[in-house]
């Protein structure tokens, strides 16, 4: 027994003669300092899952709101789903705004006004100065053209600032279209012009009609700002279109 104790003592002394090098302790402490994160515990472990989930949910919401629609069919399905939530005659302007402006990638530097003027028929070119005069100063004209969407011709002017996009959409009435026959009640009357208003998702619309035209202002501005802008535009637009209709 004592012989074994002696052997153990010698064995321990021999093994203990090996010491960890001093730098090892320093190195370990340094590595541990780098890895303090584990003490975030469960929150740290679920962060990647939560991030992935947030991205998925964000993606789904964005898709529902019309973003990430990369194909024509998915864009069309979005227009249908949004348009179905407003009155039939309001869909006309909303559809063209989404189709032509929302899903369009505007260039960083839009063309000069002179170029827009060349793209409009002389009949409607006079709309550009009216819109430029009334639009807030920080809005730039991104688009002014005559387009066709779902077999219908439109005059379409788009303006944009850092956060908002708006469209003035004008189309000739077809087949006795009128807000009055749609049983819509005007939200207000300004300068003798009945104004119709609706909103869906982020879009706000204010519209009025002349004898031959339907005029829409569609934007992602707050409801009142959208209305105020249309109130500012409406008298000149009504006058301009009235002259065309003579």
């Amino acid at each position: 027994m004592s012989e074994r104790r002696e052997m153990n003592a010698r064995l321990k002394a021999a093994v203990a003669s090996e010491q960890a090098p001093p730098y090892l302790e320093t190195r370990i402490r340094a590595r541990i300092r780098e890895r303090r994160r584990p003490f975030l515990g469960v929150a740290w472990k679920i962060t990647p899952v939560a991030t992935a989930l947030a991205v998925c949910v964000g993606g789904v919401i964005a898709y529902q709101l019309g973003h990430l629609r990369l194909t024509t069919s998915s864009q069309e399905s979005y227009i249908v789903s949004v348009s179905n939530q407003v009155a039939t005659l309001m869909r006309v302007g909303l559809g063209d705004h989404i189709h032509c402006s929302v899903f369009r990638k505007f260039p960083k530097n839009p063309p000069a006004i002179e170029e827009f003027l060349t793209k409009m028929t002389p009949e409607y070119a006079g709309l550009i100065p009216i819109v430029r005069k009334q639009a807030p100063a920080d809005y730039r004209m991104m688009l002014a053209h005559e387009c066709r969407y779902r077999s219908r011709k439109f005059v379409h002017l788009s303006l944009k600032n850092e956060s908002s996009l708006l469209s003035l959409v004008i189309t000739r009435k077809a087949g006795g279209e009128s807000f009055r026959t749609e049983d819509m009640l005007p939200a207000l009357t300004h300068a003798g012009i009945p104004m119709y208003r609706t909103g869906v998702q982020r879009f706000q619309m204010t519209a009025f009609e002349t004898r031959d035209h339907l005029v829409y202002l569609v934007s992602d501005l707050p409801k009142q700002q959208n209305t105020d802008l249309m109130l500012a535009l409406a008298p000149d637009l009504d006058n301009f279109l009235g002259k065309l209709e003579l």
Partner: protein, 194 residues
């Protein structure tokens, strides 16, 4: 077995308290971990890497370490987990079958070991013991773990610890006797014992 921690320390407190506790409870055992790793792996550089890995793993799972239990035994358990993980990568330990054959071949009549042997002779003899037996000798005879603790650290039955320890000690003694003989110390000298 358990370190004597106060009731206040027995509660998990994250961040700075965790750092202090880790410093207090785990860091003092670095030499033991390193020495054992060196003897198991036979290579100081690998032993340093493994010791570092042991401490990093211990830090990562320190929130699961139950205050009041034996931190040293917990670190050794992590050590053997790391060693088992690495030994397939670095080299192969003798399988138990080979170990048994080794014992059969080496279980000659034991001879007392002279005191003239140096630490290096003893370590060299220890390193020649098959790994399965060497780790038990290291844990029980050098690190003074109880059989039960050694069994938990190595995840083997306590009976296996006892039998391996017995055989490991015997082989060590024989190895030392061989070394003594090679130095010219006979049986008479060997009776002086270690």
């Amino acid at each position: 077995m358990a370190d004597d921690l106060s009731q206040a320390e027995a509660h998990w407190v994250p961040d700075r308290y965790a750092c202090e506790r880790f410093e207090l409870e785990a860091m003092p055992h670095l030499n033991d971990i390193y020495r054992t790793a060196t003897r198991i792996l036979g290579d100081r550089s690998r032993a340093e890497d493994v010791a570092q890995e042991v401490y990093l793993q211990a830090w990562r799972s320190f929130e699961r370490f139950e205050p009041g239990t034996n931190c040293r035994a917990w670190l050794f358990k992590i050590l053997f987990h790391c060693v088992n993980h690495h030994r397939r990568k670095w080299f192969r330990f003798p399988l138990l079958k080979e170990t048994e054959e080794f014992i059969e071949a080496n279980l000659a009549a034991p001879e007392p070991v002279p005191e003239h042997l140096t630490d290096q002779d003893i370590l060299a003899a220890l390193d020649r013991i098959p790994a399965d037996f060497r780790v038990v000798v290291l844990l029980v005879d050098v690190e003074e773990f109880a059989y039960k603790e050694a069994a938990e650290i190595l995840s083997i039955p306590i009976g296996t610890v006892m039998s391996r320890l017995s055989r490991g000690r015997k082989i060590l003694k024989d190895q030392l006797a061989d070394v003594a003989r090679s130095y010219g110390f006979g049986n008479s000298a060997g009776r002086e014992g270690l």
